[in-house]
Amino acid sequence: MNVSLRWLREFVDVPDDATPAELADALAGLGHEVEGYEILEPRFRGVVVGRVDGIAAHPNADKIRVCQVDTGEESLEIICGAWNFETGAVVPVAVPGSVLGEDFEITRREIRGVVSNGMICSAQELGLGEDHEGIMVLDDRLPIGADFANLVELPDVIFDLKITPNRPDAMSMWGLARDLAALWGIPVTIPEITLPAGGDAMAVDVTIEAPEGCRRFVGREIDGIALGASPLWMQLRLERAGVRAISNVVDVSNYVMLELGQPTHVFDRAKLAGERIVVRWAAEGETLVTLDGVERRLSTEDLVVADAVRPSALAGTMGGEDSEVSATTSDVFIEGASWDPPTVLRMSRRHNLRSEASARFERNVDPNLGLIAVNRVAQLILETAGGVLREGHADAHPHPAKPWTVTLHPRDVGRLLGVDIPVDVIRRALEGLDLETVGDDELIVTVPTNRPDLTRPADLIEEVARLYGFDNIPETLPSGHGGGLTPEQRNLRRLRWVMRAAGFHEAQTFSFHGHDELEMLALAEGDPRRNGIEVKNPLREEESLLRTTILVGLLRSLRYNIGHGIRNVGLFEIGRVFFNDDTPEQGVVPHQPVQLGFAAAGSLAPPAIDQPQRPVDAFDATAVWRLIVDQMGLRDAAVTQAEISGLHPGRGAEVSVGGSPVGFVGELHPVAARAFGLAGRVIVGELDVDQLVAPQGLWEFEEPSVFPPVEFDLSFDVGGLPAARVLHQAREAIGNRAESVRVFDEFVTDGQRSLAIRVTMRAADRTMTAEEMGAARRAVIQAVEREGASLRGG
């Protein structure tokens, strides 16, 4: 909301020496956020209002004329090249000695043999607009000789305020002035509203058929207006408030809304069929063309101001084109109503129609403001458009609003704010806002109907705090309580570290994906990840589905990087995924576990001078798992070859801890990789984080042996037997003397797959003998051969 300081000064005596910055601080300190302010200065000095009393031809030129201009103090002969005015025109005159722009001083000077004593100015010359086709022709009712700057409302400061939704009253000069006056402890002045004695009785009959939507409806009528332009000062004030000037009648209505906070609407009475106004719910299928020229299809949830036949306006939102005032309008009906805020909110939302009026009604306009505003509108219409006021006013008032009381214990003010504020300071603050207070130990506070936000003690304490000044409240720290991270939270930080150590950057991707993106993963029918939760109102197709896997976002990011010439990328992300299944958690919300996803393309290690770059493959994926297992201290971890939906059928693994599945790692299915535009092998993995960060319990110390190790190698023809099985059997066969058992070679001869393993053993209490080693060797061979392998050369 743009607020003019000049306008505000009409309501409150702003200290003359207050700088714009200080005023901005004062407004912000009251809770009215200042998004900025603009200082407007006249781009001229000494320009006055003059009247052209006579025009004569220039003796030596035909394109310019000699004007006799009355400037109040004297009559000046001024030469003018503009032809857009005649005798009697009221114009801005730069008299000798006045200055235009920064330093263009106007002097008496001869133009083709005739002395010109000043200059009649165009809007452009005065810095008031682009118009330089002709001079500015002013309202002929302006006082001759008056200071022109003052007439164009200069200088001024325009504050751009953001009014919070709890303050309907503050969307007006009056309301803001009331806050400032309370802060400074001075009174507020409101414009004096006097209306002439009325003429005929009111013609229009007002009926409220929808009392749940309309709390009060006030109306007045004026006959015989003349539609025209509003006065310059009013146009300027509206323009600076961001409202377009249209006509005297419409401008007055907007002006009063900005001034008092009550939107009003002016109907052409002749267009109200049956001279009736009925506030009712629309019938399904009724239509109304609103002032913006759009035909609105109405429903029974729309509240309308109708005449005897059809809707004339959307209540509190926008007027209708049919009953709009126009050049042919003679008689008008002025509406000042108080609408049910949720009703207006729903209507403006349904019709996607936000107006200055709806913004105020949504916030809850004081039901007792309508009559004041309608009177003010009537007063200003009579002043600017003429006409005769009809006697009395309509007032349909189904729910009279009365002030209410709130009991405030002064000690609760200190209890909540942490500072002792004397009761007289509390009382002064509240009374400054037009609240009445009675009592001492217990304040009975009467709240006027313009502050619907004040219904409880806490609301009043906030008012006291605002006026006392947040800056004057001390800073204290509550005494400490035991805090800190849980073991799971600490482990989560470690898990992130492990993934970074594995060469992956941490990513953050959106929690949505599109249907087509999910399809790109080529998941099997029945995969639970295909059953995502739909977003009902997505802004884009990529946001239409909640993610069931972190991989889509990561693969999208891989593609982004590769598209930017970065070929080697490893990313991981830890975040929630959402499943559309029937096992809701925490009451009713869907199952939404935290998962770790990772994906890499290209190579995880940069090329080195002495080793070729190795592209990622399935073993890098399992290595990530191995690193997680070792660093997180997971016990009983296992990798099982498996065909995982979305993964390369021969290069995927299910991983588990303590027999419970944790997720999968492996190579992305080439079909999916191609769909994401990724060439070469892509590794991925997705793991359940809860199981990875679960506390593992204390580990037990093992004294390192001081005796030397012994080693032996064995080769087996294994066929399809997984290496993990071979190693497991070997380890079991040796028991606690196995220091390490690993595969150091895999080879195929004559179609027969073989694995070479190296066993390292060490005893805790002695150097192992050749006999013991031989026995261990035999035990390993036996155990592995039991799985169907056979010792090579054995």
């Binding site: 805090g483 060469g503 950057h505 941490e506 953050q508 939760i533 990087n561 930017h564």
Partner: protein
Amino acid sequence: MNDLIDQLEELRKAAPDRITAASDLSDLQRAESELIGKRSPVAAMRRTLGTLDDDSRPRVGSAINDVTSDIAGQIARRRAELERLAEDELLRADRVDVTLERVTDPVGMQHILTTTIDEVVDIFTALGYRVADGPEVETAYYNFDALNTPPDHPARAESDTLYVDYGEPADEMLLRTQTSPMQARYMETHDPPVYVVVPGRVFRSDTLDPTHSPVFHQVEGLAVDEHITFADLKGTLAHFAREFFGPGLRSKLIPHFFPFTEPSAEMHVSCFACDGSGCRVCSNTGWIELVGCGMVDPNVLEAVGYDPQTLTGFAFGIGVERLALVRHGINHIRHFFDNDVRVLRQFT
């Protein structure tokens, strides 16, 4: 006998030249054989000792031993010297250009949003706060109703909030628009006093622009106890701001409005980039809006069964992206979500 002694002296005098002349270890080996080996003159002399008389034998024997050990010592020193020279030569040949790099195990970077969240969380855990986490798909009850938000509040509109198709229509399942639903969830499951921060992901129906994103992060804070005041809120947030941005930072609270706090405020901090004199970071205002906060509305306490007569509390919500944007001068919020490796690598 004196002939023998003289011969020995001759040998001793001649030895250094021969030893020094040995330019490598094998030549030194030969020199050793020549000078004190089995076929050397010294060895020959030792073999004649038995022919000497009893008077001469000890003297000559001792002189032989003297000369032998003297020469052996010289050879040992020369050997050590030659070995050192040989190793030096070897090492010279082994030189590499150490400005060539081999980074075999590059370590990834932590996302700046995670780092920022961890920093914020650590400041509050040091003040005695616990850390909680909550669901991102929420019910309208926890996201709005329990937070004193009226049924027709504009924030509930589809233009602000993303709704999802799950469960019963009455649950109005949505993507939480703030971390504040955890206020109610945490108080429902924990007895007072409550000191907790809740970092997490939140969602709005926004299109991506330099400062808005449909997905972003907040850290919610909640303190409810028997004596919590607005002054405590001020002190806590001022402490946070100084810890996060530096000790010279000034902060102030400006009145604001949120349905679930009363009084409500917004914390502004003096611009750390210009110290309040006005610059691009603070849009020339000298101040940066950072945190929405306030005293927990009595209705919120009542909704979870806490007694507002005995308990008061404060709550705040810190925008994580905003902290990171302003602190690092990042010009567009998309840089947090594009995951461009060239950007991720900067997240130290």
